[in-house]
Amino acid sequence: MKRGSVHAIVGENGAGKSTLMKILYGMYRPDSGEIFIDGEPITLSSPAVAIELGIGMVHQHFQLADNFTVLENVVLGSEPTKGGRLDFALARQRIGDLGRQYGLEVDPDALVEDLGVGDRQRVEILKVLYRGATTIILDEPTAVLVPQEVDELFGALLELKQQGLSIIFISHKLDEVRRVADDITVIRRGTTVATVKPADVNSRQLAELMVGSELPTPETRESTVTDVDVLVVKGLTLHDSVGRDLLTDISLAVHSGEVVGIAGVEGNGQAELVEAIMGMRTPTAGEIHLGSDDITTWSTRQRREAGVAYIPEDRTRHGLLQDSPLWENRMLGHQTQPPNARGILLDRKGAKADTQRIVDEFDVRTPSIDVLASALSGGNQQKLIVGREMSGDPRLLIASHPTRGVDVGAQSDIWDHLRAARAAGLAVLLISADLDELIGLSDAIVVMLRGELVATADPATVTPEQLGSAMTGAGGAGA
């Protein structure tokens, strides 16, 4: 790749993007092959060496200390010292300079925990610039951003590029890649398939290069909605520890065979709503009913045993035990139910057999069910979770970003499974940041803003743009 350009790398989950980046950042050593910087072959034996050579990485999951200020986070690990003492004045000045130079201004004294996602990302980029990076690797930078923030990020990237920095941009979102990249390299199954110019391809062709097959669309066919209430939430209100409203008077109903989508900018109470429905948070007021049962005071386990399935938003924190084998992960969340348990004992044989079934049915790519979950790529981990939650005929599925960070192929598989289950009478509460997914899969959409349901939309008629403005409170979505 050239100096002063944006080079995008796209590929399915498990195609090897992350591995490639980890090699570039010195976290893994290649078995063969060479890496050149400015014509010089180099050996990247550790991230420290990579940093020295001017390679900086912005991880998909931010690596910031929440209770530190922006300034402290930026200097963390390369603190400027004067006579053995921290020299914040110098650092403050450099951060100011960098911010102005690249259009990445952030208040250096703000606490990171008070910053929004977009600002946090800027802090991450500042961090690598501060260490003198000339090549910046961005791993899925837009996954957590709303459209407006994406625009800002792209503005900053353009600025960086014009200043002669090189940017490696990893993404699944092909439209974005085409907008921002000068060159696009498609990798599939660990090898380069093609390197193209964005002007020469459209997103569809790009996607087909990626998966080597045709593209899926998230459309549900005929309606399967019934009038059988499965989940009914009435007047649900949730306070945080100091009594502020996280959720205010939420009421909604999901029927058998229906997918209800929740649209909203992240952090507007969706996570709290999901956790309240799952019994992981105790609501301050309101009721939750599952079928004919009032489950407001039930424990998470009781709810799960009653047929509530849950695809959590953050699979690494809530969905999996990374250091446990796949078959133990199959049990997680269902460890009291067949085929995983018999009485108070675990049924290891049953769990293993059923894990194999999930691996086969849901196309989880793994050499064996005995490998640790951490060995699988994100998409395969997600397929395992979806397979697990679809097992045992659930009545209600709470699906939080079910296809986040998942490649096009796995995404379409997951959509197919959701549709099939819906047709069989499953009630689904779908939370997604992917508006196409939300519109395509849902039978009804509600918009959430600052912990309240502010609008409803008909997925048959609403456009992503209308939804987007309703989500930011700019206008109704045709309620």
Partner: protein, 374 residues
């Protein structure tokens, strides 16, 4: 493929302790050299002790106690609960159980059972305080159990006085609880020939506890919840585990096993809780749980190794080597085990990840080839 995984897995799990012991031996050798002693001489003196039947009995007896202590610690460790208070729990439990045992008269088996149950109950109760504090007030169990150790010391000192629970032991200037009569004792086992010394009958209890630990942790729903909570509390909560309940139950279990720690000594040798009752076993248990990686078999090896070092250290004095060298050795072993396991763990994760990648690549090549020919 699976076969390869597990053969390598076994090799890797053996590699870590071996690595640690070699490293510890090296460091100890350096220490011995630095103090002007011949390492090989010292090591062979210690090993030679192994031939003596009396030493063999002592090693098994101490190891029994260490094993129970380490299992008590390991129960908490599996859930990332650090019960540093095994020490206080077993001392308080042993003292009160000894007092009860000396005060009552029951038929043989019932007498022993009562003493053991009292000890388990007291141990659980004492650990339970820390659990309740953690669940209700969010107090770290590390802090509270350490503080409870001191409180236990105070209570034992207060109660172990003439006129309270203690009486003077005839033929010494020691005081202790009233001696437990014959019916409340556990007879020793004459399994080592060539010595009149007997192996603690409670070694059978230790084995039962070890098997029970393995079974509960690996084969029951409760054990799964416990391990899941230890592996990822957030994922455990999402899976429906009631973490508060788990903390309480696990601490109670850990404390109950801690209550057993003093039993081999009490029921098999001293029959009274005197001023000379062994202390500090809880901390030995922490070291051995680390050494054995919370694995019931690993802990057994760790307990035997520890006990071997303890019981042969005196022989070093014949070679004019300070017996405290053994303390250095024990310390270095624990540190190197912790480090070696972490290194091996990371290596293993990398190996598996690259294996998965390689295998998938191979599969894809075959499918691609089949696709091409079709």
């Amino acid at each position: 493929m699976i076969g390869r995984f597990s053969i390598r897995g076994v090799a890797l799990s053996v590699a870590a302790p071996l690595l640690a012991i070699v490293f510890a031996l090296t460091v100890t050798s350096l220490v011995l050299l630095a103090t002007g002693n011949a390492p090989l001489g010292a090591f062979s003196t210690m090993l030679a002790q192994l031939e003596k039947p009396r030493i063999q009995v002592n090693i098994l007896n101490s190891a029994t106690t260490y094993y129970l202590s380490a299992i008590a610690v390991a129960i908490g460790f599996r859930m990332k609960l650090f019960n540093i208070g095994v020490d206080g729990q077993y001392r308080l439990a042993a003292m009160l159980a000894a007092a009860v045992g000396g005060a009552i008269a029951l038929p043989p088996v019932f007498h022993v059972a009562t003493i053991i149950l009292v000890a388990m109950f007291v141990g659980a109760l004492w650990a339970g305080i820390a659990a309740v504090l953690k669940v209700t007030r969010g107090i770290s169990e590390v802090i509270s159990t350490i503080m409870l150790n001191f409180i236990a010391t105070g209570i034992v000192a207060y109660l172990l006085a003439p006129g309270r629970l203690a009486v003077e032991i005839t033929g010494s200037n020691n005081i202790g609880t009233k001696v437990i009569p014959e019916s409340g004792r556990v007879p020793g086992l004459p399994i080592i020939p060539g010595t009149p010394n007997l192996v603690f009958g409670m070694i059978i209890m230790a084995i039962i506890v070890g098997v029970g630990y393995w079974f509960v942790i690996n084969r029951t729903r409760f054990g799964f919840d416990l391990r899941a909570t230890g592996a990822s509390e957030t994922a455990a909560v999402a899976s429906g585990v009631n973490v508060k309940k788990m903390i309480i139950v696990t601490m109670l279990l850990s404390g109950a096993v801690a209550g057993l720690v003093g039993m081999p000594q009490l029921l098999g040798d001293s029959y009274t809780y005197g001023l000379d009752f062994p202390t500090g076993l809880g901390f030995t248990g922490i070291a051995i749980a680390l050494l054995g990686r919370n694995n019931p078999i690993g802990i057994a090896f760790g307990a035997l190794l520890w006990s071997f070092l303890d019981n042969t250290s005196n022989s070093l004095e014949f070679d004019n080597v300070p017996k405290q060298t053994v303390l250095i050795m024990q310390g270095v072993i624990v540190l190197s085990v912790v480090i070696a396991y972490e290194l091996v763990r990371r290596y293993r994760i990398r190996m598996v990840a690259s294996d998965v990648g390689r295998q998938l690549d191979a599969e894809l090549v075959t499918t691609a080839a089949q696709g091409g020919s079709a």
